[in-house]
Each structure stands twice: as structure tokens, then as C-alpha cells.
Point group: C2
Chain length 562, copies 2
């Protein structure tokens, strides 16, 4: 991936007793969050998440942090601290544990429960150390203190790391909802205490740094749901993220208030809410939950369906309902609520789903026309509070695209952090904390690692470029068998095309003669090297298609000598 | 394309003296706007625009309205009325005139100037009838009155069409800016007069029907630009649409106020603004414009560059600047303004550009962090005014996705239009106005027509599906030469892959044996039919790749008998 310090050299060996921070993901992108702290020869990993591909990474299932910079030092890794249970913070753990399964996982009860469920699918049983807010654990040379923070999933933690080089505070993902559903607020007292002690490096969530003001409280969604449930004539179908326990909590509560039963739809929704309920993070009002198989027995105005697919994911329940491709048949009078954000890049897919549902007669409520979503991240106003409470000596914005990191850095400077004490870096850029000063120390190669089907790291950016060309232009393959002795064409040229206009061999009558002539000329010297003839073939077809079709499809020439 | 009336039959012949409306584009999508009015055997076309493809239409250059429903009746078309000069209203005219070049074009001076410039590139000289607001023209059986409306391009017109079947008012695209830069307001007096006369069918722009309140005035952008220009340390680079004359006007004026010179960058920007200035729609302050070749001679704090690319189009000036692939080198202290909307689906591309510019040290101002854009379409509040002023007997929402059409219909109903007098239809659904009542009369097949390189309408949805599969999965081609007599494999299997993990022939060692065995078995009966053997080949490779790679690449089996 591109980053702003291409000119940097590899970092020198870490000064004795100093602290090094190596971000392997999440800086310069929203996702695959992973930071490595190094001190006295040991490594502490904070989060290990996945990134979901964009349209210019076609076919890719997942994108992982690049482990190669620490691949030969996994025996030095004392633990992986997981700040919360979102995919972009835990999703890559199975791939790291594949390399060394005995690295201990440290996190809150819910976070560990979610990663353990995921690891089970990978047939890995991890070593775990459950921690709570307020708890202090010495992990190798790293003195870790865990602090309650509030986010769009329960039981999230910030982590303060004490070393002889100084105190690092990493917020994880957080916001500062002052009236959270579970009463578990971001512990600003602890932030203040650490500020008094002196935070040498503040690593802080940048996701919403561009958003002015304050993130609205999750609680505010309840009354909106009440309104929607109150007006709904028939069924209510709510789509959200399968990990958003508090959002689901509010749907359960609203359903209970309006005498409706809730059926959870979709494997991930059922699994996660099962875990959350079991551990007491989701309080299910008695009798509110009903099996999806039983909803047809209920009057439609007593039904709520809670499903995934709020991002227009084609395979998710909601998209399939919109396409009349789901056992739940949406119709006139149904109300659909997309209780989630609209992640950039998903707009067309989401609006396709919304249009489909409206065509079927449903009313659709979404963040564009009602307050049915609030962000899980601190906006600029909240970040200013943090900076003023903590008064960090050095700041390193984390978690966001470059624009987010820069916006967060500006907030730090506005609160009085000296500009030269704010380091804006992207993945692979190494920051050393020496004598209380954080400085960029160098740069390690750090690319995208693609999970593609059963392969990890085998798909290259060149393969993706091929896919983009194939996807845009299609291809023409042309096969020719030439006589090994004479070079005479004995079979073909035979054409195959996909994603290219028209049908039938007659399309190629013109280029067929060009090919035969070109090959005859090329072999006139008796040289029938297949590779060379393939180049001739490629050039001949390429020139023809550019002239006649004004397109540049991929051309696959195959010459076999027989 | 999908539409909500699949069950409809083709419409009956039009009742004598009745009026028929056939939408061929723009209803159910934002773009390729085209409506056909039929009366007494004659056809009047209103607009003929293009639609820009979404990510699920890879490689497509443009999407046209489907002309086939009127293809055999082009001799009945009395004119094409063009409401304004945007691509989604005029872009498909060259393709319609290719079929019959002598269909007259009716529109305002600027609109005709823009389409004539475009037609010149297609080597077509059209018959034109320039009209002004207030002008009335009898065109065949259609009595057309043209009404000033205000939009994001100057000289836009609504058209009222009088026939013995009743009066139709088509707004085109419009908003109701009460203090437009050019003082040319949407003529509500005319709307009122027509309302008094009685509007039997009101075809009204739905684009912003979901947006509550009122669209902010274009004029409001001036002070924001003043602020930005005032603070800018070095160059200011403004990106917007090449047709947005008033936006460019405000940039020229702001530059003039701040002692800066403006260079227009990009062919379309230079061409359109040349036309607009020539016709007096763009007032260039004396000495403000400078040739882009001369900007390097000016002090950087006296330079404004006006370019395209505000949607992240990879080939446009702005994207190339962000990628350091443009002669204009963006650097520390430059200010970039994206003075345009963010069209859904372009988010990732636009944010890539923004991140790239910020990495280069530029400050980036965009609609997300400053009021540098206002919409060109009437919001709900303005539409309510229209309905109340006009009090139409029947309403047909136009120009928008299904959700927009439905939202617009609800506004009509709220102002007292009987629900049964509001027809919500998508492309291809025929509406007849008989005895003052508008009813759905039937349905004509109406698909997407893709322009792809030099081909029009040759790329099919099946081809696009192939492109999507190729783009997601890549392909494996397998080439085998078998002995025509014995069926024995004499050459190959030879593998070619693109967009598929790994390299080298060894990947296929395992499946190679499977293939040879499968072919040997298949030909054991002496049947060496190539097609049949290709199916065997496809099945063998397909099974293998699904098992081993858990992917479904396209498989191209070729068996040549020699």
C-alpha cells in the first residue's frame, strides 16, 4: 500500500530501554487494526483485525495485516491484547495463531468469547487471559492496565502500557456516551489519573476526528424505534450488525413495549447474541425471543425480524428479501429499519436493497431519513476532552484513513500538544519513544495480505490488476497448433471470448487471415519457437481489437507445436 | 432492468384523441432521462440522456435509453425537446440521430450549443429550433410552451404541452432558488397560470423528494469561497462539473476579489466555459482568465486552477494530481476545493483522491467539511409549493430511483392530489391520459442499452455477468490436442490462468493426471467429439479447483482434434 514516507530507510536497532511502536494495520485505512509494541527484546501486539476489500480488490475475501515484519520474532511476542470484539480488531487472530498457536490472548470476557467462537471454526484452542477494567497485568516487560471504554460493542477496553521507556495509552476504538445503555462509561477518571502520572505516548482513535461536535447517545435510538414500532402496520424487519449488542437490546426492548416477538435471522446474529445473552451482556425480556420457524404462526403485527445485511451484502438476509429470494416474503405494509451506518462504498448496494424493498410495498426507515443509527466513535468534541484531560507528551493518531489521522492530529495541536510531538504515520512506519520523545525511526515493508478462497497471501496486486482488466474488458483467447517442422498452422486459430461483445466465429474472419499471415511470415525463417509465436499472436489480435472495437481486452495467445 | 409491473401486458392501441406517455429512461434510475409523448399518431420526445454505469456494469462506457419501442416509428417523431444541457438529458441524442438525423432538436440557446458541440464530434449537423422562456411553438399536434426553470446549469426550461387530450407540464430538472446568480428564477407565475388553466398531468423531478426542507441558494457558496481563498497560502485548486457555469462563475468572481488568476484545466471545462462565455452565460471579469501554460510564471498565491475530477474519475485532472501523475504538482500549502456533490458509489474513489492530496500536503475542502456545494434539484419543501401552486389533476413523478418517485408521490398526496391520481411507474410502463384521467395502460420491453467501446447494444447482461465473474474469480483455460482417431492426448493439457493464485505449471500436476484419465475414459468408446470432451475437461477442472482452492474461476476448456 502507498504511504507518505516512501523515502524512509529501515529503522536502526532499538536503543536499549527504549520503546518502539510498529503499526502493521489500521493507519491509513479503516480496518485490519494491529500495532506492535517492542521493549527490551519483547513484543506486545495490540489488536489483530481484518480489512474488508474495496471494489478495486475484486474477489478478495479478506485483507490481513502484513505479519512478515515480525514473522521471525513470533517467539518474542508475549501476548496479543484485544481491545474489543469487532472483526477489524480480532478477525486476523486465527491467521496469526496459525503461525504460532500458543501466543496468549488478553481481553475482556465478551471479546474473548467472540474470538474463541471464531477460533473454534479454525480448530484452534487459544491460551487466554481474561481481564476486566481496572485490572493490572505484568506481561513480559509490559505493565498493562486495562480501562473501560464505551463503543458500539460491549466490554471494550483501552490499554495503558507502562515500560521503563514511558507510559503508552492506547484507546482502542471508543466514544464517550455519557448515558450508555449498560452504564459502562469511558473511564475519564482513569484517563485523568494517567494524565497526572504522565502519558508519554497517546495512541488515539481517529475514525470520527473529522466529525464536529459530539456523537449522539445510543439511548436516543430507543424513542425513534418506539415511533417506528408504533406506526408499523404489519411486520417490522430490523437490519443491523451482528455484533451490535446494544442496538439489538433496544430492538428487543422496543418489541417488548409494543407486544411484539423478535426472531433472530442469520447464523452470525444468532451465534453472537447467544454468546452475549449467555454472558449477560444482552438482557432478553422474558418470552420476547421466538424461533424464526415459528413467526408465521404469529399475527404479523406482533412480529419483529432482526437480521443482518444493512450494508447491502448480496448474500445477507435483507438483500435476499429485497430480491424475493428468501423464505421471509416482504410485502405491502411491512416496515424495514436499517439501524446502522452506511459504510462508504456500499451506497449503491444499499440503495438497490432499499429500492427493492420499497417496490415490494415496504416502508423503509434508514439513517438517511430517521435517527436510527449513532456512531461508535468519538467525534472531535469528545477527542478534545480526552486531549485536555490527558495532556499527552506525544500523540500518535491511530485507526483511520490518512485524512482522519491528520484531522485528529490537528485537534491535538489545538489543545496545546506541540506539533513536533504529534507523529502522523501509516502502516509500516516505525515510531520510537526515546527519552520521552516520539520520533519516526524508519520504515518496514508492509503490504496487503489477501485471503482468497483457501489461499492466504498468494493473490498478488498483479493478480488483482488482471482481475480488474478482465472485469472491465473481458478476454479473447486464441489457440493455434503449428507444425513443429514447417511452422504451418495445422489447427486453429480457435477463438474463445468472455465479456467481449458479439458471438460466433465470423467476428474473427478478418483477424484470422491476419494471424495466419503473421505466423507464416514469423516462421518463414524456420523458427517455430512457441513463446515467440505467442507474442506475434498477441500483437496481431491486440492491434486488430484496438482498431476495430476500441477496447483492450486481455489477450491469451496459446501456440502449441505438434 | 427490473420494474414493478412485470405482470403488465403490452398496451392496447391508443384511444383516438388520447395522450400516451412512454418513459424510456430516468424512471427508476438517476440518468438517461427520456420520455415519449404520443398523440394523434405523432411522437414528441422530451430529453434523451445517458446513464453512467455502476460497479455492477463493469467496463461499460455509457448506458442509453432503449429506443426499440419507437425504433419503427421514428418517422412519427416530430421533435426532441431538450430541457437543459446536462449529459443525462442530452447525451443519447447522437445515438438517436444516428437512426434518423433529421429529427429536429428544440431547446434553449445554451442547451443547443452544448448538444451541437457534442454532435460535431459524431459528425452530425442537427436541425434545431432555439426557444426561449415564454415562447409557444406548435410542433405537430403538440402545443409546446416553454417556461424558465432554475437548475445547476443555466438556461433550463420546463415544457407545457397542450393537446386535445389535456395539458401536460414537465418540469425537467429544476429547483426554486429565489436569488439565483443570473436572476433567472423558476417562473412560478407561469406555473400558477397553467394551474388556473388546469394541468391534467404533472411530470415532476423527484431527485430530491426525499430531502426535507429547501435547497440552499447557489449564492451562499460565494462567501465560503471567499473564506477559503482568503486563508489559502499558495495555490487554490477547485474541482467541479464542467457544465456548472454558475459554480465556475463564483470561482472566477472570488478569484477576482482576491487578486488571483484562474486557469481552466481539462478539455471539457475549457470547451464548455468557452461556449458559455461566448453566449454570455459566463461573465469573465477582465484579465482573470489565464492560460494553464502560463500559471507557473505567476506567484502561487495568485493562482486558481479550475478543473474536473470532483467525482474521483481516475482519468480526470484531480485524480492524476493526487497520484502525482499530472504536470500540476500539488504540494504543501496548496488548497483543494471539491465544489460538487458526492455522487453515491463514488465515495471510495473520491476519498482516495482526498487522502492522496492530503498526503501531498494540501488542505482539502469538500462538501463534507464546508458548504461548497448546493444541489440543483428541488427539495420536498419546494415540491410542496409546486403542487399547491399548480394543483395538478394527475401526477407522474419522474427522474429518480424508485425510492425518489415514491417520496415525490407522497408529497403530491399530502397536498391533496387523490392517491389514485398519482401514477408511480418505471421505464417502459405506459401511461395513458384519457378523459382527464391518467392510468397505466401497459408495459413495453425496455432494457439497458450499453455503449462499450465502438459497439452500441452488443454487450449483453450475460456478457456483464461474465465480466463480473472474471473480475471476481479470474479464469483457468485448459488446452488439449487429442488424436482425432484414437482420442489419445497428443499435446497439452496446457494451462493458462489470470487473476488466479500462484504461478507455474506445478500447480496443476494433480489435476493434469485427473484430466488425462478423464479424457482417456471418455474416449474409450472411440467418441472424440470435441464439444463433449470440453465438457469433461470443464467438469474435471471445475471440481478440482472448487475442492482445492474453494473458488469458482471461469474455466475455458479447449479440445482440438488433430
Amino acid at each position: 500500500m502507498s504511504h507518505p514516507h516512501p523515502e524512509l530507510a529501515p529503522p536502526p536497532p532499538l536503543a536499549d530501554g527504549a520503546l518502539r511502536v510498529l503499526p502493521l494495520g489500521g493507519l491509513g485505512e479503516v480496518g485490519r487494526n494491529m500495532a506492535v509494541l517492542e521493549h527490551r527484546g519483547k513484543l506486545l501486539v495490540i489488536d489483530c483485525g481484518v480489512l474488508f476489500p474495496e471494489e478495486n480488490q475484486p474477489g478478495v475475501d479478506l485483507i490481513l495485516p502484513d505479519f512478515s515484519p515480525i514473522a521471525d520474532r513470533l517467539h518474542d511476542v508475549v501476548a496479543i491484547v484485544l481491545t474489543h470484539g469487532h472483526e477489524d480488531h480480532i478477525g486476523a487472530v486465527p491467521y496469526l495463531l496459525r503461525l504460532k498457536p500458543d501466543i496468549p490472548l488478553v481481553g475482556s470476557q465478551l471479546t474473548l468469547a467472540l474470538i474463541e467462537a471464531k477460533l473454534k471454526e479454525h480448530r484452534i484452542t487459544p491460551y487466554t487471559l481474561p481481564v476486566r477494567e481496572g485490572q493490572v497485568e505484568q506481561i513480559g516487560p509490559f505493565g498493562c492496565e486495562f480501562i473501560a471504554v464505551n463503543h458500539s460493542i460491549p466490554d471494550a477496553l483501552a490499554v495503558a502500557v507502562r515500560t521503563s521507556a514511558g507510559l503508552v495509552l492506547h484507546t482502542g476504538d471508543f466514544k464517550m456516551d455519557q448515558l450508555p445503555l449498560d452504564g459502562r462509561i469511558t473511564d475519564l477518571r482513569a484517563f485523568a489519573r494517567l494524565g497526572e502520572e504522565g502519558v508519554d505516548l497517546f495512541m488515539v482513535d481517529s475514525t470520527n476526528a473529522e466529525v464536529p461536535g459530539f456523537t449522539a447517545p445510543e439511548r436516543g435510538i430507543g424513542p425513534v424505534l418506539d415511533q417506528v414500532f408504533g406506526r408499523a402496520e404489519r411486520r417490522v424487519i430490523v437490519a443491523s450488525f451482528a455484533s451490535h449488542v446494544h442496538r439489538v437490546q433496544q430492538v428487543l426492548d422496543a418489541a417488548d413495549r409494543h407486544g411484539r416477538k423478535v426472531a433472530l435471522v442469520g447464523r452470525s446474529m444468532v451465534r453472537n447474541m447467544g454468546v452475549a445473552a449467555e454472558l449477560g451482556y444482552l438482557n432478553v425480556p422474558p418470552g420476547v425471543l421466538v424461533d424464526v420457524k415459528r413467526v408465521d404462526e404469529l399475527p404479523e403485527d406482533q412480529v419483529v425480524l432482526m437480521c443482518t445485511g444493512s450494508q447491502g451484502e448480496p448474500m445477507a438476509a435483507l438483500s435476499r428479501m429485497a430480491n424475493r429470494d428468501h423464505r421471509i416474503v416482504v410485502g405491502e405494509g411491512d416496515t424495514v429499519v436499517l439501524a446502522s451506518s452506511l459504510i462508504p462504498g456500499n451506497e449503491n448496494a444499499v440503495f438497490r436493497v432499499i429500492n427493492g424493498l420499497i417496490r415490494l410495498g415496504a416502508k423503509v426507515v434508514h439513517s438517511g431519513n430517521a435517527k436510527v443509527h449513532v456512531s461508535g466513535h468519538a467525534s472531535a468534541g469528545e477527542l478534545l476532552y480526552c486531549y485536555n484531560i490527558i495532556r499527552p507528551r506525544n500523540v500518535m493518531p491511530v485507526h483511520g484513513e490518512y485524512r482522519h489521522l491528520v484531522a485528529n492530529a490537528e485537534l491535538a495541536v489545538q489543545t496545546g500538544v506541540p506539533r513536533e510531538r504529534v507523529v502522523i504515520v501509516e502502516d509500516g512506519v516505525v515510531v520510537d519513544l526515546v527519552d520521552g520523545v516520539a520520533r519516526i525511526a524508519g520504515n518496514v515493508p508492509c503490504g496487503y495480505v489477501y485471503v482468497d478462497g483457501s489461499t492466504v497471501g498468494e493473490i498478488t496486486d498483479a493478480d488483482l490488476k488482471d482481475r480488474r482488466i478482465l472485469g472491465e474488458e473481458g478476454f479473447i483467447s486464441v489457440f493455434v497448433v503449428v507444425d513443429a517442422a514447417t511452422g504451418k498452422v495445422v489447427a486453429g486459430p480457435e477463438f474463445n471470448t468472455r465479456g467481449f461483445p458479439g458471438e460466433g466465429e465470423e467476428r474473427f474472419a478478418q483477424v484470422r487471415t491476419r494471424i495466419v499471415n503473421a505466423l507464416t511470415e514469423a516462421t518463414s525463417d524456420g523458427n517455430v519457437d512457441a513463446y515467440r509465436l505467442q507474442q506475434v499472436l498477441r500483437r496481431t489480435v491486440g492491434t486488430w481489437v484496438a482498431q476495430v472495437h476500441r477496447r483492450r481486452p486481455m489477450i491469451i495467445p496459446v501456440v502449441v507445436t505438434a
